[in-house]
């Protein structure tokens, strides 16, 4: 044992009712390195990390931290032993301030009655933010933050523990390029301080940029560990999915039809201003922009979830009055929302029930549900999207994040909309599934659907879109054709450094 | 009426009008609503008298608050039917301190002599009277089932106590079942149904009020056992008298609700005017059986 491991997890096994989530998995992390943990959705990455931090107890296995066996019984125990974690699902306390969220559980206080030193709390947060160059008001209410800012707070929080080992479970799934770079800068400086990091992501390019070693899991089993720079992308994918997977972006040529959706001068005070765009049949339009640039709000306003102050919407050339999501659905629209937990999932319900919500009235005959037809259609879609679940009756809360996302896509596919809005459609989705979803989007376009994709992942925008609309601070800064669109141009527009003249 | 608000707003002033505060324990209670009728009818016959009725919902604390409100309002006299007789002396004392005459009605307690007057009788007597008659009908022996009202209510405690005092006197009688049906007919019926299933021999069901007794009668009737069991109630409500007439309810006890209401208000008005009043105004209980039921049916008409 010449190597200096900060953490060794050996033969970890964990079974949930009906699911063997981890089967004899090992993970060895060298001190002062960034260790990537990769695997498909449901491979068991988060479960392994939750065992490490003390949320789950393993059925079998051993954890050695700094050469000593670690028996984690509670999260507090793990935190005290110098392990902290950025969780995959954001977990803010909405009605508390940023500072209170960050120091939750370890507020600076006087011994008497646990009297909290509020000033110091804020001061410490401010110092933390200054050190990490994060620009958020410590006194802001958590609920008022954008998702991206919430994610930054979570990152800052995990770091504020001064742990020797930080787990980051998909920290970049909710933030844009800019914050990603910021995070990487933070990670590099942490590394210099000797902190070790376990980094979970589905974004391949991040691997090369930031990690030193990679461990791959598949179906709850350990596949292997290798230095990142020795690993080719194809090799990694091979390890993850157990087969070759070539050519993720293979955008087929699709004839573009007539205008399906036209939005004119849409305005919502304080959110976005005078946004106009068109989407044609068979066309995929990408929306790029930094966090909070207003893309989500635009989609929500078109879809009737938010109320715009001004502007007109035309569907297939006819003026449409859309006051609610129901109206939008009647006009043949669909919206996959960006925050699946908040606005997508019915957590206590089964996978099937989650899939049929939009279409359930189409499965009604004489007032009764045609259950066999529902089952068949859902089964078909589940297979098409390779949703990994023991059965369609499984409660969706037990699925991995990626599989939950696929079930939500299935919800809208069942509805078969003419115009489909996808807000961050592959957030938290593994490479294999991502390829499947991209192919699906292409397939939809081929069938003459008009598609709008909002994404903060540059490769996704560039790979999918026929046209890219770039937003900045609630204004449309420009529109680029597939040929014109490059990472640099998009960034320039998105940061407001360049303003395209309106066409 | 609700649109009387304008006039009643002047309740506190000294326009020559006599304002009486009536603190009743429970408007949901049927018997008490007849008592209130007695007050209302009497009030109508009086000129320049206004009565404010408040409902304590069987909550002594609430009643105390209401008495305090009356004192704040400077009413001319208070009529009170105490929620319970232990906390009542304090309310009497508060009224005394404020120099407002207070007339206690229906429920008697130690220290009631500190009040301006008492109108009514002694609760425990109704339980005794009821049980004595049942004992007579049973020939001094038999199995008794006692159906209690809401546990802890003044009437429940005193009536059951009266029942048990009598039973103790007869060695041949014993309480085989005891439960609560919370003054409620539906609950009395369910309790009786369950008792019938218990297989215990029951010779008489003695209920704290008529509503529960009627519930018991209905359950017994449905089981075809009404002829084997004597059912007794208290209150002699119009409904109950109907059952007495039909021979289904063997015993009930009439407590002159209207008489007590009227008497209480009458005394209070006198006291408010500064006239001298009797300290104790007894209104006795009366036993009702099939023999004399018609007399009481007339009283309600």
């Amino acid at each position: 044992m010449s190597e200096d491991y900060v953490l060794e997890m050996i033969y970890i096994t964990k079974e949930f009712p009906g699911v063997k989530a981890l089967d004899g998995v090992q993970l060895k992390v060298k001190r002062g390195t960034v260790h990537a943990l990769m695997g498909e959705n449901g491979a068991g990455k988060s479960t392994l990390m939750k065992i490490l931090i003390g949320i789950y107890t393993p059925d079998r296995g051993k954890i050695i931290l700094d050469g000593e066996e670690l028996k984690v019984s509670t999260i507090k125990h793990a935190l005290d032993r110098g392990i902290s974690m950025i969780h995959q699902e954001l977990s803010p306390v909405p009605n508390m301030t940023v500072a209170e969220n960050i120091f939750l559980g370890r507020e600076p206080s006087y011994p008497f009655a646990g009297w909290v030193k509020m000033k110091e709390l804020v001061k410490k947060t401010r110092q933390l933010f200054e050190r990490l160059e994060i620009d958020i008001d410590p006194n802001a209410k958590m609920a008022d933050l954008s998702i991206a800012n919430m994610q930054m707070v979570e990152i800052a929080k995990a770091i504020s523990y001064h742990s020797k080992l930080i787990i980051m479970d998909e920290p970049t799934s909710a933030i844009t390029e800019k914050e990603v770079h910021h995070l990487f800068r933070i990670i590099r400086s942490l590394k210099k301080e000797g902190v070790s990091i376990i980094y979970i992501t589905h974004k391949m390019d991040e691997l090369e940029q930031i990690t030193d070693e990679v461990t791959v899991l598949r179906d709850g089993k350990y596949i292997g560990t290798k230095p990142s720079h020795q690993m080719t992308r194809d090799e990694l994918i091979q390890m993850m999915v157990g087969r070759e997977l070539n050519q993720i972006f293979h955008k087929p040529k699709v004839p573009i039809g007539e205008v399906a959706l036209s939005v004119q001068g849409l305005t919502k005070k304080g959110k976005f201003h005078d946004v106009s765009f068109e989407v044609r049949k068979g066309e995929i339009v990408g929306f790029a922009g930094l966090m909070g640039s207003g893309r989500t709000e635009v989609l929500e306003s078109v879809f009737g979830v938010a109320k715009p102050d001004a502007g007109d919407i035309y569907v297939h050339g006819k003026k449409a009055t859309i006051r609610s999501a129901r109206d939008a659905i009647r006009y043949g629209m669909g919206l996959l929302t960006e925050d699946r937990k908040l606005t997508g999932l019915f957590l206590p319900l089964s996978v099937e029930d989650n899939m049929i919500t939009v279409t359930v009235n189409q499965y009604t005959k004489a007032g009764f549900l045609q259950q066999r037809k529902i089952r068949e259609d859902c089964q078909r879609l589940a297979e098409q999207l390779s949703i990994k679940t023991p059965s369609l009756q499984q409660l969706i809360k037990y699925l991995s994040g990626g599989n939950q996302q696929k079930a939500l896509i299935a919800r809208w596919l069942l509805h078969n909309p003419d115009i489909l809005f996808l807000d961050e459609p592959t957030r938290g989705i593994d490479v294999g599934a991502k390829a499947e979803i991209y192919n699906l989007i292409f397939e939809l376009a081929k069938n003459g659907k008009a598609i709008v994709v909002v994404s903060s992942e540059m490769p996704e925008i560039l790979g999918l879109s026929d046209r890219v609309i770039v937003m900045h601070e609630g204004r449309k800064m420009g529109e680029l054709t597939r040929e014109e669109a490059t990472q640099e141009r998009i960034m320039q527009l998105a940061t407001g450094q360049l303003i395209e003249t309106k066409r | 009426g609700c649109n009387k608000q304008q006039e009643t707003a002047q309740s506190g002033d000294k326009s020559g009008k006599i304002v009486i505060g009536a603190a009743l324990p429970d408007f949901d209670d049927k018997w008490l609503s007849y008592l209130q009728d007695g007050m209302k009818e009497y009030a109508k016959t009086q000129k320049d008298v206004e009565v404010i009725y408040v409902d304590a919902m069987n909550d002594a604390n609430k009643q105390l608050s209401q008495v305090e409100n009356f004192i704040q309002q400077k009413v001319d006299a208070i009529v009170i039917i105490p929620v319970d007789t232990v906390s009542a002396p304090q309310m009497v004392e508060k009224a005394n301190q404020a120099n407002i005459p207070i007339v206690v009605v229906n429920r008697i307690f130690d220290g009631v002599d500190k009040a301006t007057a008492y109108v009514g009788s002694e609760s425990i007597k109704s339980g005794i009277m009821q049980m004595e008659e049942v004992a007579k009908m049973l020939g001094g022996k038999g199995n008794i089932a006692i159906m209690n009202g809401q546990m802890g209510h003044e009437a429940q405690i005193k009536r059951t106590e009266g029942n048990k005092q009598v039973i103790k006197k007869y060695p041949g009688m014993k309480v085989v079942l005891e439960g609560t049906a919370e003054w409620d007919r539906a609950k009395g019926m369910s309790l009786m149904e369950n008792w019938l299933q218990s297989g215990k021999k029951i010779d008489a069901v003695v209920a704290n009020n008529d509503e529960m007794a009627i519930g018991a009668i209905m359950a017994l009737e449905a089981a075809g056992k009404l002829n084997d069991v004597i059912v007794a109630g208290i209150d002699a409500t119009p409904d109950a008298l109907e059952y007495v007439k039909q021979g289904k309810l063997k015993v009930t006890v009439f407590q002159n609700a209207k008489g007590q209401g009227q008497g209480g208000l009458e005394v209070a008005i006198k006291a408010a005017k500064g006239e001298k009043v009797e300290k104790f105004n007894w209104i006795p209980y009366e036993l009702v059986t099939k023999d004399n039921v018609d007399e009481y049916v007339k009283k309600w008409q």
């Binding site: 908040l342 206590p348 | 408007f27 299933q197 209905m218």
Partner: protein, 334 residues
């Protein structure tokens, strides 16, 4: 591309198929039928303690007594699944009781009139609840608490605080009659159970109810007319309270302004004992019926055993908590 799809397919089959071991099956069985087991256990216990407990007569008795609360509990269950609550049931029963009774005197109206008036009045209170809750967006707790107070006041006002007797024999049949030896209230209870089961499991109404309870915001975005269905849900609960009021009135041969006191708590308890989650999205009709029967068996058994009223209350509190505790074991995560 072709080959990829087929590979995916294979992988999928492996994922979806039956990984369920026999241990899992046992687990699921308990997960589903845990409370039923507890009910059966309670019945066995009572049968041992009291020889007369396990007789047809007594068992019918228990179900008949529980049918009023049981019907209310079914409506309340659906309300709770949408994350709501209905505290007004007991008072609505009282209001319906006095109003229906006043139309049920012999030789006045045909029996259908008081029934329809009772049901209609129940429905109305429910629709009022639902409309305020959904349109004015006020917490169901407050709205139905308001209705609880107001309906009780209205019942007392309408009847001047007195019972309304002298009801026609045909009206009395609803609560007191029987068909082939089975009491009518039990038949109605069973019918309500079946209809509600179908509503909740076989129609889109049911799917929407669960969706609203599971995540209201998501339901809105999925195009569910949340307001409308909430009004339906509270309306249905009100309708069932109205039905319960009619049965109760007929059963006790009189309209009672004080009827139904605290029934809402019994009904909610039945639902929760039966596995309905107050956090919404979870609950079944079958569970609620089991929950209602547990309460019924407990009431009846304690009466049969002649447990003193004071001890009955203490034991009821303990039994309910223990039953839910035993049942909750099954949901424990390792």
């Amino acid at each position: 591309m072709e080959s990829q799809v087929s590979v995916t397919n294979k992988r999928e089959k492996a994922g979806v198929s039956s990984t369920a071991t026999s241990k899992d099956k046992l687990y699921r069985f308990f997960d589903r039928y845990g409370m039923l087991m507890i009910l059966i256990g309670l019945v066995i216990l009572m049968s041992i303690l009291s020889p007369t407990f396990f007789t047809t007569g007594n068992l019918l008795n228990i179900v008949r007594q529980m049918s009023v609360v049981g019907i209310v509990a079914i409506g309340v269950t659906i309300v709770i699944i949408t994350t709501g609550i209905d505290l007004s049931s007991g008072s609505v029963i009282a209001l319906v009781s006095v109003v229906a009774a006043s139309f049920a005197h012999p030789d006045t109206y045909p029996v259908i009139v008081p029934i329809l008036i009772g049901l209609g009045l129940g429905l109305l209170t429910g629709v009022i609840n639902g409309t305020i809750i959904s349109k004015a967006n006020i917490a169901p707790f407050i709205v139905t608490l308001g209705m609880m107070t107001a309906a009780r006041g209205a019942a007392l006002l309408f009847s001047d605080g007195r019972p309304i007797g002298n009801l026609s024999p045909s009206f009395l049949w609803i609560g007191q009659g029987d068909v082939l030896g089975i009491p009518v209230p039990i038949l109605i209870f069973a019918l309500v159970g079946v209809i509600s089961y179908i509503l909740l499991n076989k129609t889109k109404f049911g799917k929407y109810v669960y969706a609203i309870g599971g995540n209201e915001q998501a339901a809105v975005i999925a195009g569910v007319n949340v307001d409308k269905y909430k009004i339906f849900v509270y309306g249905y609960a009100g309708l069932l309270s109205g039905l319960a009021g009619v049965i109760l009135t007929s059963r006790i041969s009189s309209g009672q302004p004080t009827a139904g006191m605290m029934y809402e708590l019994d009904a909610i308890a039945a639902a929760v004992i039966g596995g309905t989650s107050l956090a919404g999205g979870i609950g079944t009709i079958g569970g609620t019926i089991v929950g209602a029967l547990i309460i019924g068996v407990m009431n009846n058994g304690l009466d049969l055993l002649n447990v003193s009223p004071y001890w009955q209350q203490i034991l009821k509190g303990v039994i309910i908590t223990v039953a839910v505790f035993i049942d909750s074991r099954k949901n424990r995560k390792s």
